[in-house]
Subunit: 383 residues, 2 copies
Amino acid sequence: MDKNFNYSSLKLGIIGGGQLGKIMSQKAKKMGFHVTILDPTVNCPAAQVSDRQIVGGFYDKEKLTQLVKECDVTTFELEHIDTQVLKELYDADYRIFPSPYVMELIQDKYEQKKLLHEKGIPVPKYKNVETKEDLQSFGLPVIQKTKKGGYDGKGVMLLKTKEDLENCIKVESFIEELVDIDKELAIIVARNIEGEIAAYPVVEMLFDERVNICDIVMAPAKIDETLNEKVKEIAIKSIEVLDGVGIFGVELFLTKQGEVFVNEIAPRPHNSGHYTVESCATSQFEQIIRAVTNLPLGSTKLISPSVMVNLLGEEGYEGEPFIEGIHDALEIPELSFHFYGKKETKPFRKMGHITVLDENLNEALKKALKAKDILKIKGSKKI
Amino acid sequence: MDKNFNYSSLKLGIIGGGQLGKIMSQKAKKMGFHVTILDPTVNCPAAQVSDRQIVGGFYDKEKLTQLVKECDVTTFELEHIDTQVLKELYDADYRIFPSPYVMELIQDKYEQKKLLHEKGIPVPKYKNVETKEDLQSFGLPVIQKTKKGGYDGKGVMLLKTKEDLENCIKVESFIEELVDIDKELAIIVARNIEGEIAAYPVVEMLFDERVNICDIVMAPAKIDETLNEKVKEIAIKSIEVLDGVGIFGVELFLTKQGEVFVNEIAPRPHNSGHYTVESCATSQFEQIIRAVTNLPLGSTKLISPSVMVNLLGEEGYEGEPFIEGIHDALEIPELSFHFYGKKETKPFRKMGHITVLDENLNEALKKALKAKDILKIKGSKKI
């Protein structure tokens, strides 16, 4: 896509049609591009706002090939995809960003950690698990993680007792020292085809401890300027090391001793960057479109502080979603309501989110927590 | 739509599938609503980002009826629609907002002006044209306007000479005194079903004089606080007088003598409110969705000053659009690029727009004018 490319007819492919694909597509459509979604669910959230859907799974070689060949450039909203076929297409000069090689590396959390460690990026102490004895190399308690396939708290286990050791993860895994966490931080980093790089503000994530899903994001994080710069530097170096093109969500631990460790990296728009839609000059969703279509990156400037709260399906409900409290919640000023259009709710399923702006971050948090109390995503069936 | 209504399955209908319908639909989809577009052009801009399109014209009684009956609530992005069939549906308790009665009144610029005048809203001196002599009631020069069907500078004529009088508008029209304009101002006003009302900041419009199309919008207008309040008050009163529900673009003249006159009112999102997408806590496009679905209005707070520039098709080109200068323009920081996805460009056709944010309005204007110089919408055919 050089300067003579006709962007008014640009065809973009997105693998995955959930909320991330949906908002990415909306931003691509804002710029007038043609968008095709590949997803196995007919009428998935992203397909509802796009030109076209190819119905197919993420390991369906034929459909993946069709998508890539019919589009000028293809990107994705999730990393659990068949990389083999994408690598072949990439090697045959089809445009896929981030590259399937980067995707493959990141799919394996152990290899990801190893590369970062080798390149001098601070990560918590970790060790490959080959034998049962390996589990106790750092003593107990310790964190065990699957190498592949984990997300939203799945594939992670805290081993505290001998009994936990018996019930440990049985697939390929590694252990990680339990760090003394003060805050969980995150930062979105964008890098385009030319290597131009841009970091968003550092944010602070709070988790729903019942299921270990990121629940609340405060932008910016309440940390001092030195630490802020350190986190940015580490995150930018991480993406350079990966040679990634697109948007990357870098999750980090800040320990009580003031150390910073990279926890993991997502090679796509990230839940911790939803706030950028309302808060930043260019959202992470527009930024990935710019990055993969060889356009200059947009400004990552924070226009207003904000707090984002995920709307998870209530425990005890499934079926057609019902949004309880929408009238009262939308009374809250500077609140933006997102609902993804998923046909079925399930306990803790990500159904939507809200972002509340306020010049004063504490006020934004107060308003966001009030909305969190009011808004409940119930369902047509009690379970 | 009371508090027990299930908003997760809300079906919204939009009459008209251009850029206004497109962005309205994107905001409705953000909130998870189901959107159907009625438009005669297959795959029009709004249909590309919506669930469904009914292909039909704006005077097609059958298709209008189908849309209204299949949706929980129907709104529109243009006012040149068959109001007769919509009035019948409205009277049969189908939800259509703004009401077709308001739409009908506004369609006739003379009746609109008369009502505002009767209710004490300041408007320029005007007079119905029944005979040729009426044209000269205020002397020359004078403005002649068609009562119905005008938009974007069409249906407006400046009569200066005897010759102009011969070439005057021949359909139903009225004349308006030529006021000594200092600035053309505009303000978006929202009113919901409960009568809650909210005004956006007052903005200043600059026009492309070749075709009298609004070209540049500066938000906020550079006017003092007293005048600002006066404009807001006049605009709010105008919408109350109309008993309108939805979004209204109120255009005003500020004279060199400091008087303020309402020029005209559009009963829909307005070009002068495009800036709200990036600049305000709630965009005009989300606001209309909230207003017509009986949700509370969102905050109209200006988060950042900005300047919006329309991207009009270059003179001398038609056919498939080509965006010249996109790489260089997108280098400009805090610039948001909108391209509508129209398949054909024409001279002066509205093909897209950009919005540039900056804490300093003059800087925003400088950046926007630079982008305007760089970005050219050319076409596949020279004419």
